[in-house]
């Protein structure tokens, strides 16, 4: 009995301490954001801010130059929501087509879709840029948002897998009740794939929120910057010692990610464990 307890304590000590060690940089970042800028590195060994100040947040929120951090947050939310709507509509329609409809060329297009999953963005990056430049879409959200309305292979695949688990008898019953194909999608499938749509939404949120390369390529005026871009700007404008404001806004940029994670944890964990979505 005694030995079993000791074993248990040792296990929790090891696993717990390792977890703390792993997360220490994040804890340090958060605590440092409450320190005076000049003390962050002078007292790097201590987690306790002395004195504890909030002015970093006020300063960071006021931002650089003409725009406050609220502008960047708002821009990013608009970006995320537009992409999210695109993914939900397009991916569910496309996935329904692949999973439920029989048509000539289905396996061909499905294979193509799987192949695009593997295609590095770098290969299409430059021509896409040129196309969007020709369309006069530079310095707008359009190049970042419009493609989302044509599906995303990862989420299409995820939804196809999910739809395949729904019994076909439901579709057949609906046909007997007079539903057409769109009706089956709308009334039968859509309500049943809500969990998979939740996973899609969460990962769309993460990927869009964190996206840096896209905004770096397409957004030039600070009024349109996203949070990632703003942090990047903070870093490159890094005046001698304004660490505090930069740390504070880094923390702010992580808050939505944490909130979404803690609310929808189950979907995140299931999404990764079952389909290998990268977090």
């Amino acid at each position: 009995m005694q030995a079993k307890y000791i074993k248990k304590i040792i296990y929790h000590l090891i696993v717990g301490c390792f977890a703390i060690l792993l997360l220490y940089p994040v804890i340090w970042l958060i605590m440092s954001s409450f320190k005076q800028s000049e003390k962050i590195f002078a007292t790097a060994e201590s987690l306790i801010p002395q004195p504890f100040i909030l002015s970093n947040y006020a300063q960071g929120w006021a931002g650089f130059g003409d725009y406050g951090f609220d502008t960047y947050i708002l821009n990013t939310f608009i970006f995320v929501i537009l992409v999210l709507i695109g993914h939900l509509i397009s991916c569910s329609l496309i996935a329904f087509g692949f999973a439920r409809l029989k048509f000539a060329g289905r396996s061909f297009w499905f294979a193509i879709m799987i192949l695009t999953l593997m295609l590095p963005y770098e290969v299409v990056m430059i021509p896409q840029y040129i196309i969007f430049a020709q369309l006069d879409w530079l310095n707008s959200l359009k190049p970042l948002v419009v493609p989302a309305y044509f599906g995303h292979p990862f989420f299409i695949f995820l939804l196809v897998q999910f739809i395949r688990t729904i019994p076909r008898e439901l579709d057949e019953a609906a046909i007997i009740d007079g539903c057409n194909t769109f009706g089956i999608y709308r009334r039968i499938i859509l309500p049943l794939i809500v969990p998979a749509l939740a996973t899609t939404s969460i990962f769309t949120f993460y990927w869009t929120w964190d996206n840096l390369l896209g905004p770096v390529l397409y957004l030039n005026s600070p009024s349109k910057y996203t949070v990632s871009m703003a942090l990047n700007m903070f870093l490159s404008n890094e005046t001698v010692s304004n660490w505090g404001a930069m740390f504070a806004m880094s923390v702010v940029s992580l808050i939505p990610v944490f909130i979404i994670f803690f609310i929808f944890q189950r979907y995140v964990v299931d999404g990764i464990s079952t389909s290998g979505l990268k977090g």
Partner: protein, 298 residues
């Protein structure tokens, strides 16, 4: 006939958006990129056909390219195995009936969750600074502090550590895989007197091998395309002394800083070929180490 036509029509109505998007945002750019890779193109003047010049330049007269390729290989082949090893060890530690596992799983996953963000790259930059907490910890242990930004090798390892730190998503996949191994296998092995290591190499690894394969492929591809940490940590320069000039970053700089669009396109194609070869090598080797239950196994 009538119903066939109707079925096809419905099918293409639903997957239509994918086909249109594929043509507009994938296939046309792919063809264009292939063409550009044989040209000299600066975005402002018409592309000029130069045959294989770009490819020749890469491998014969651009030492920076070869350097970038080399450090990317180091980054991938040091980072991915380390990351998978961590993921597997922690997944095995967490594969117990303890009630605290849910909490631990969340804690270990958090770095993966936020790892791709600019905020974390900024944080990483600061903790590895000359007076950052990593050096403080080294000094406490009696090790000389490292000037992470003064030495290209150290800077590259800083990126590798960042990648290893994010082992959480692979860990979740391994954990799901471990849970699906029937407990009876281990019980039978215990009855036969198998040691921990025998069980590990004869049950855990073979049963988990398809998941390891999947992880290895996905992580290798993703690692090869790493951009954000290198871009942020080096403030877009790839420095010090090109120590963090990963492939994607160099490609980005060639394209959008020097406006060598033709050269950058050629780089993208070489990247595609390399990723293709790496993926097929992993798949080819999988014949020898991946065990599929459905084939009957042993």
């Amino acid at each position: 006939m009538q119903t066939h036509m109707k079925q096809n029509l419905w099918g293409y109505l639903f997957i239509g958006p994918f086909i249109i998007g594929f043509l507009a945002f994938t296939i046309i750019p792919i063809i264009a990129s292939f063409y550009f890779s044989f040209t000299s193109y600066d975005l402002f003047n018409a592309p000029r056909w130069i045959g294989f010049e770009n490819f020749k330049k890469m491998f014969t007269s651009d030492p920076r390219y070869l350097h970038s390729l080399k450090i990317t290989f180091i980054y991938v082949f040091a980072g991915v195995p380390l990351r998978l090893l961590f993921a597997l060890v922690v997944a095995m530690l967490l594969n117990t009936a303890s009630r605290a596992v849910g909490l631990y799983r969340t804690l270990y996953y958090l770095p993966s969750l936020i790892g791709g963000s600019v905020a974390v790259a900024i944080m990483w930059r600061q903790i590895f600074g000359d007076d950052g907490i990593v050096n403080l910890a080294l000094m406490t242990m009696g090790i000389d502090p490292v000037r992470w930004f003064g030495n290209p090798t150290a800077a590259l390892w800083m990126l590798i550590f960042l990648s290893v730190w994010q082992f959480g998503s692979s860990m979740l996949i391994f954990l799901a895989g471990l849970k699906s191994i029937p407990q009876s296998y281990y019980e039978a092995a215990s009855v036969d007197g198998a040691s921990f290591f025998q069980k590990f190499f004869n049950i855990t690894i073979p049963m988990l091998s398809p998941v390891i394969l999947f992880n290895a492929v996905m992580q290798t591809i993703a690692a090869f395309m790493t951009f954000v940490p290198a871009y942020i940590i080096s403030k877009g320069t790839g420095g010090p002394l090109d120590g963090t000039l990963l492939y994607s970053l160099y490609l980005f700089k060639q394209g959008f800083e020097f406006f060598h669009m033709g050269y950058a396109s050629a780089m993208a194609w070489v990247m595609l070929v390399i990723i293709g070869i790496l993926t097929s090598l992993i798949f080819f080797s999988s014949k020898y180490w991946v065990h599929y239950e459905s084939e009957g196994g042993r």
